[in-house]
């Protein structure tokens, strides 16, 4: 199986030949790849070099935390790449965007109202959790179409708070 893997803009071709061998950029390498205790931590022995990293699913693909550095990675097989190239454009910066609660907490204030135009980075919701007040900011500019919570509400993780268009 051949994968086209993009790491923060840099592209690698990784071909998985078998459980114990891969080809990267034309070079064949011996691999021994295991998850540590069934967790999203992986141990990799690559031609005798030992590495350990966290690998988490993320919005764009996978996040790899290796030696104190975070890498945002998109992995595509050839079929997926063709599909994407055929469809032309990537996700556009318009469309509905739901601001979700990143953690459970208490709504302290909502400094925006429905219909308001907001800029990227503007505060949308102030959420108190773990005794800290956290400002949740607009990930891009847009118009607030719905405010689904009010100050004093307790919210669960991933609950939709505000919708932008």
């Amino acid at each position: 199986m051949r994968y086209i893997t993009t790491v923060d803009g840099e592209t690698f071709e990784v071909e998985i030949n078998s459980e114990s061998e891969i080809t990267v950029g034309g070079r064949r390498l011996q691999v021994d790849f295991q998850s540590v205790a069934g967790q999203p931590v992986y141990s990799l022995i690559l031609d005798g070099q030992s590495y350990e990293a966290y690998v988490y699913p993320s919005d764009q693909g996978l996040d790899v935390l290796l030696l104190g550095q975070l890498y945002h990675i998109a992995v595509e097989d050839e079929r997926q790449r063709r599909l994407r190239q055929a469809s032309g454009m990537q996700i556009s910066p318009s469309g509905e965007l739901h601001l979700k609660a990143p953690m459970p907490g208490l709504i302290v204030a909502i400094p925006v109202i429905e219909g308001q135009q907001v800029n990227q980075g503007q505060d949308l919701v102030i959420l108190e959790s773990m005794k800290m007040q956290n400002e949740l900011k607009a990930p891009r500019e847009g118009t607030v179409t719905r405010v689904r919570v009010k100050p004093g509400d307790s919210v669960e993780q991933n609950q939709i708070l505000v919708t932008l268009v």
Partner: protein, 502 residues
Amino acid sequence: MFSKVLVANRGEIAVRILRACRELGMNTVAVYSEADRSSLHVRYADEAYLLGPAPARESYLRGDKIIEIARRSKAGAIHPGYGFLAERDDFARAVEDAGLVFIGPRASAIAAMGDKAVARATVTAAGVPIVPGTEGEGNLRDEEIIAIAPKIGFPLLIKATAGGGGKGMREVTGPEQMADLLQSARREAESAFGDGNVYLEKLLTNARHIEFQILADSGGNVIHLGERECSLQRRHQKLLEESPSPFIDDELRQRMGEVACTAARAVEYLNAGTIEFLVDADHNFFFLEMNTRLQVEHPVTEMVTGVDIVKEQIRVARGRKLRYSQEDIKLKGSAIECRINAEDPYNNYLPSTGTLNQIIPPTGPGVRVDTGVYPGFEISPYYDSMISKLICWGETRGEAILRMRRALEEYRILGVKTNIPFHQNIMDSHRFMGGQYDTRFVEERFSMDKAEEAKPSRSDIAAIMASLVAHRLSQQASQIVRRGERDTSNWKWVGRWERMNR
């Protein structure tokens, strides 16, 4: 004298205090909220009693219930730890009135130092330099504060009178921001401390935050255990502390230490406490505040002095004399503490909640981990986000940094996001290694971006790992599809099979 201690706290500090009690042969009583039934402090104590529901207001802040439990369990003393009731003079007084020993300073000293405005007035009278601000003005109304602000000059800080830990604190760069920030500071102070009063203080730029550990006994002996460098902060929350400070020399240490002891004597201080100073680039130092309790970062001092501060607190509370004189205190080597918090350094440091699936703590020479959690523990939104404190000691500061790097790399915490990568980046930062940082370093001159310190990128290895994981995931997905290969439902199939075997 007492031989059973009630620990009126939770988390790592409760565990820390229980350990000291154990080593002194004392019996221990834990108290806990409904959210903490499975916490380590409950399991480690000899006795444990439920306080109430998870919110602190209904559990760890219920001084009346705690005193009642102490009586019922025949504990002779209460150790408040830090936070919660630790700096409440009314609680300390109630404990004494109940005929119990409060392991900490006298209620009068907590009151004098706890009200930051009174504290500033008291130490000024003893000749200790302070940062300009609205000290001694009492509790001001909004209009008065806004009127005084330009006289102090911008930038300035709005601080909660009952404050600590950066809560209820706001930085103001110009007069137009005063009204809004005043409101939000009061709101946060009200919710954190039940007291919305605030005062103003000039913001010193390029300043360092250096504090001195004080120990005092009832015989009037006051000594200091050297300093802790706490300049590495984010939004006024300390993240990393070290001792000794790379910024000050023996001469300055001695002068500051003497001033710290003078400030402590000014309020007839007893037990352990900390005097915080701001030190400017020209080595001028100003009294900031006194913390009348055990500090989160006390282990770095323990590592370089060899003094067990909590045990010393208990001895002093039992009326004993300090085991050390100032001459006995020698700083040996260098220690660094990293606060490991459940927060995501790659997403604006937002707190992360969830269940800790797996924890592999670092061990080995010179490494200490103070924690109150274990695998299977749930990080809840009710309390602060600190998971543990990782402390490393080295013969030199360089060795301590290298050891901390090694320990951070060994540390595995799964289930929540942690700020371990943040600390790893700090340990790799050339400015940190050179000791060139102040209280603004993290916000103004530090970035999690890997290109910053020109570190070698291992994007090739990351790409291989991600590809292998993606490959596994797609294989698992195809196996799930394959499982339902039979053309009839499994129930129907089982029915036929059973009939066939009749």
